[in-house]
Symmetry: D2
Subunit: 369 residues, 4 copies
Amino acid sequence: MSLPNTIGSDFAFTCFGESHGRCVGVVIDGCPAGLEIAEPDIQKILDLRKPGQSIVTTQRFEEDRVEILSGVFKKKSTGAPICLIVWNSDQRSSDYEKFLNTPRPGHADYPAFVKYSRNNDYRGGGRFSGRITAGFVMAGAVALKLLMDCLGMKFIAYTEELGGIKADVSDLSTEQLERFRYSNEVRCPDLSTAEKMKELVIRERGSGDSLGGIVKCSVLNVPVGLGEPVFSSVESDLSKAIFSIPAVKGIEFGSGFSGSNRRGSENNDLYVKSSEGKVATKTNNSGGILGGLTTGMPVVFRVAFKPASSIATLQRTLNLSTMEENDLIVPGRHDPTVVPRAVPVVECMTACVMADLAIRGGFIRRVLA
Amino acid sequence: MSLPNTIGSDFAFTCFGESHGRCVGVVIDGCPAGLEIAEPDIQKILDLRKPGQSIVTTQRFEEDRVEILSGVFKKKSTGAPICLIVWNSDQRSSDYEKFLNTPRPGHADYPAFVKYSRNNDYRGGGRFSGRITAGFVMAGAVALKLLMDCLGMKFIAYTEELGGIKADVSDLSTEQLERFRYSNEVRCPDLSTAEKMKELVIRERGSGDSLGGIVKCSVLNVPVGLGEPVFSSVESDLSKAIFSIPAVKGIEFGSGFSGSNRRGSENNDLYVKSSEGKVATKTNNSGGILGGLTTGMPVVFRVAFKPASSIATLQRTLNLSTMEENDLIVPGRHDPTVVPRAVPVVECMTACVMADLAIRGGFIRRVLA
Amino acid sequence: MSLPNTIGSDFAFTCFGESHGRCVGVVIDGCPAGLEIAEPDIQKILDLRKPGQSIVTTQRFEEDRVEILSGVFKKKSTGAPICLIVWNSDQRSSDYEKFLNTPRPGHADYPAFVKYSRNNDYRGGGRFSGRITAGFVMAGAVALKLLMDCLGMKFIAYTEELGGIKADVSDLSTEQLERFRYSNEVRCPDLSTAEKMKELVIRERGSGDSLGGIVKCSVLNVPVGLGEPVFSSVESDLSKAIFSIPAVKGIEFGSGFSGSNRRGSENNDLYVKSSEGKVATKTNNSGGILGGLTTGMPVVFRVAFKPASSIATLQRTLNLSTMEENDLIVPGRHDPTVVPRAVPVVECMTACVMADLAIRGGFIRRVLA
Amino acid sequence: MSLPNTIGSDFAFTCFGESHGRCVGVVIDGCPAGLEIAEPDIQKILDLRKPGQSIVTTQRFEEDRVEILSGVFKKKSTGAPICLIVWNSDQRSSDYEKFLNTPRPGHADYPAFVKYSRNNDYRGGGRFSGRITAGFVMAGAVALKLLMDCLGMKFIAYTEELGGIKADVSDLSTEQLERFRYSNEVRCPDLSTAEKMKELVIRERGSGDSLGGIVKCSVLNVPVGLGEPVFSSVESDLSKAIFSIPAVKGIEFGSGFSGSNRRGSENNDLYVKSSEGKVATKTNNSGGILGGLTTGMPVVFRVAFKPASSIATLQRTLNLSTMEENDLIVPGRHDPTVVPRAVPVVECMTACVMADLAIRGGFIRRVLA
């Protein structure tokens, strides 16, 4: 389908808005009628992504107050499209004019100029800005509510690695993971590692450089058989959604890349009866997905984020009109790393995909209650 | 869109057929009119994927002779849908009845039984078999021809790692990569490593176990600006396509996972003027993709394949009717590793995505002169 | 969506094949698993459309024997795509070369030549031939079975008007409509009128001219609430499907065009309690559709077919290379009217749309018990 | 595709909003970058549909001032999604609570209650209100500008029949049609008939009844070969779009229903050389469409609108909780006929379809110079 700003089919959303335009918004189509949903349900997730909250994020300040423009009546979804919007307020657009001829390394500037003959809104990265993920989060908040209410599904993403520092959560319970991850600015449930990560971020921000990292995401209480073979396998749909998040450069499910150098006898997950008497597997190297279908085990995957492209240090680039190399300083207010704010975004995109597959597969009805 | 067996929008294909059914086929919709295409163009790519060719693959023998059923007239595409088919011949279906109650570890058996209430064609894995990738290759062969004829694009995939043995191609030219990779059974252009990989495969086949590996794929001569933000980013569409290949569990673009622990100042690719006077970058950590758009540098990514799930050794599984654990022996003819035969499949799926994006972006016209 | 040869979303089909190519086929995606379906179920509907059966149709003879290539196992649908095919046998392609420069009036020749730069398969009209509706019928036969088995829905189409002769069915019961319509070559349940229609067709065939007509279609036992506002209203989806049948030039639902000169007080259907105690309406001027949703009353619509474009009489046309006007004689074997053979085609396309909406609306489950 | 609130593929729009909600809006995806477009371009078309303008329309007053929320920068489209919105202001929602148990004849109330279990926003008809066509018009205004700027295409719709009174425009030039149609409240270019139509509307409004009518639409300067066989034939896509307009119950192209009782020799359009030396046809019974493709002749079709369902006179209906018949009076401010305000809506939906097909067919580039 050629609708590049729409994702999903049965729980789908279309996003619009630019970093320095009037707003960022989404239109959700396919949310079942009868879901109890109100602005606070969305706001609480949106607040997790909000900029300007701490020393580890950009100092651009946006209130990001969600407004429901349609599709909800008497605090319930009606079955009609749900339009959700946040208005932009704290843009400083004069910063960006200078990049028209000197594309910033690591950003979309150059290919976007070529593709759109410079008609694109280049202010603040326009459509390529991480700001558009505010839309992803609004849609995801509805999906999270839907999946929790209907299927009891839970989503737990967190910062597993930041700037090369790796968390160890092996001795944490699910409850601790849930509780600890949002207790600190870097969204890492391993609290002592979180402290080190935060120090590193502060140090890099000082030197004008940036960091990448890895977000791990688990989905619990997943029904067996989500996924629509062959091209809407769970991995296919999830990876498509996750790679739409700016700065993502890799994804792996279950044992992923490390599984590729194991033997089959090591990597196959053997079936066992769980303590609740259900079908389970002893290990979960598949990440809860076989043949593109969920197995009922937790869906587990890891997402690699590159270091933020906006850095304050001097870089070399090409002047596109003179074809000479130039020095470039990128001013503005930047995230020294996008990873902490990406945690809820990964969770929300995952929820949107799962909601879509759950409705497609008949796991959630078109009209609730 | 809810067409789970269709991928793409402007160069799209729908696939059908099962491992032990009558045939495997595809219908391509959107191939521009006027492309010179005939059965040999498709056959030569299909032959690269064909089973039964060497000691490193399954001993199931299929001729896999492509037939063009529609959409081609006077050796040119007409603009109408192109149906391509290969007939199945060497099925041995009696092997599979026994797995109805004892799902094979690593396979789709269990979630498929639940999802379809056992109505699915379970023989040979049915729709979940690697055999359906014969369809992907037929569609891809058309895409490869289209992209070569119209844009001069080239696709070079090869086995980079197999069973933990890693190739080193640092001193090979593009021409050597192209030439060497298909010169050996494991499809690795580093010929001395290829020898070691082959030995390992033979050894594992002997012991009834299986191996995974990594396929690296590069696309050359890519126009600037392929990709449709935000949800048809090049990474989004490629990853969706690649994860539809059975046994894929990870993908990374450019510096990928390893880039996630670099600093921005190390990972950003600086713009320079190339020797041909064009815009280029000094490094290619982005894998040729920024903001989801191609930069004109080679598109580069790596794909992790799990070890083949079918192994000859004894495994434990659950009997779904008694809920008791059982021993299980999986007979049949299996690939000890899917990696070598997956090389052309990765290339073909990549070509399909690139053809789709090239048409959507207006890089290829609807009717070729 | 840009898949011009695919229709539907949840019960969708993709069609391929040309009039004088190797075959005509469809791939159905979305048929629920567990439907009992075998070749005879499809063949019996396909036989109603078959050419060469009587004096009122073309003398081209095709056996039109359906083959199920995929998606059915143990006489039940598996949930995988169902490929259905009929092979072409009785083509006489030499007839058509001459029209390359002198487009036939009423046919697609001229715009198709321009659109595809003459790459299209022009033999027998290629993709624009009525022959492709064999594919529509194969898909429709599956939809008819699905809707009958799951919802008890019935489809009754018949020739209401032919060459200006109008049937009167006011005193026929539903059972008589069903029984009588296929009892004669013109598919008109008003048997005395059918006789007159047949005579007219024979007379026109003799003089080399052709006739148009009107097909009326009713759908019974329709659940309340089919239709997906706003763009998949029942009228929207049905009209899209029906206008894909060659030679259709008009459609109206319920009182349609004649309703447009009534007052609201005459045209509104008042709600009453039916004899079975259900909600019904006194009249059915809406054709069973309000706000794009089914009301539970029969869905009723009329389809206008133009007279067949292929006539044996001398016509004037333009020679596209000289831009001079020429005489033209169109040889070949033609239907003097397409209306009788279109009756099952209308029924089948209607069934496909209804199956799609029924699945989308949750009226039919993804897996039948 | 299961996106019921999205139409089109390459120039697509998603609509949202309800009659008595906060707003009505659309998100256009696929508008080429570089189109000069600003609020006045849209406002001038929107004003043609605005309620409360004259004695022949509803007395609900809405300013309907368009706001561009995204996708336009420096008065040009950027290639990003364009969100357009009008805010609702003059709702009187208390009127509607009473219909929850007593569905209004002719409206969507009953099937919508069943479909959505009464979760739908029933105020003012909610999503089923004609008010949502304000969104269609905003999208259409962009399409009209695009097609005029790129291809010089013109759209001329007008009221051909109202309450059974038929216009005669046979002696009007194209220029007069364009000029006269919007010179009067009923949008009929035959000015003396317009006067009679207006008198009839005023009379019916007085008696509390309503009228239907017919809108005729012509598209001029159409390129040859628009349309994507087989399921995106011009008739298929246009009819789908037109039937999404509330109150439409019929459509016919060219000679349509009346053509169905002609002979082929009468109805076929013979090719001739036009006065400009181009390929043309002597007559235009095909409505400018053969084989689902445009022929270059004007695209011509007629649309039947039923009389408005909201009438002030007493009607009988069923009380859904008691299943007893009741008297019903529908208060509120209603259009005595929707036809005059539907004229720009038909034009706008037609433009959206044509823009979509023009981009799909490569007639308009993705980026305007």
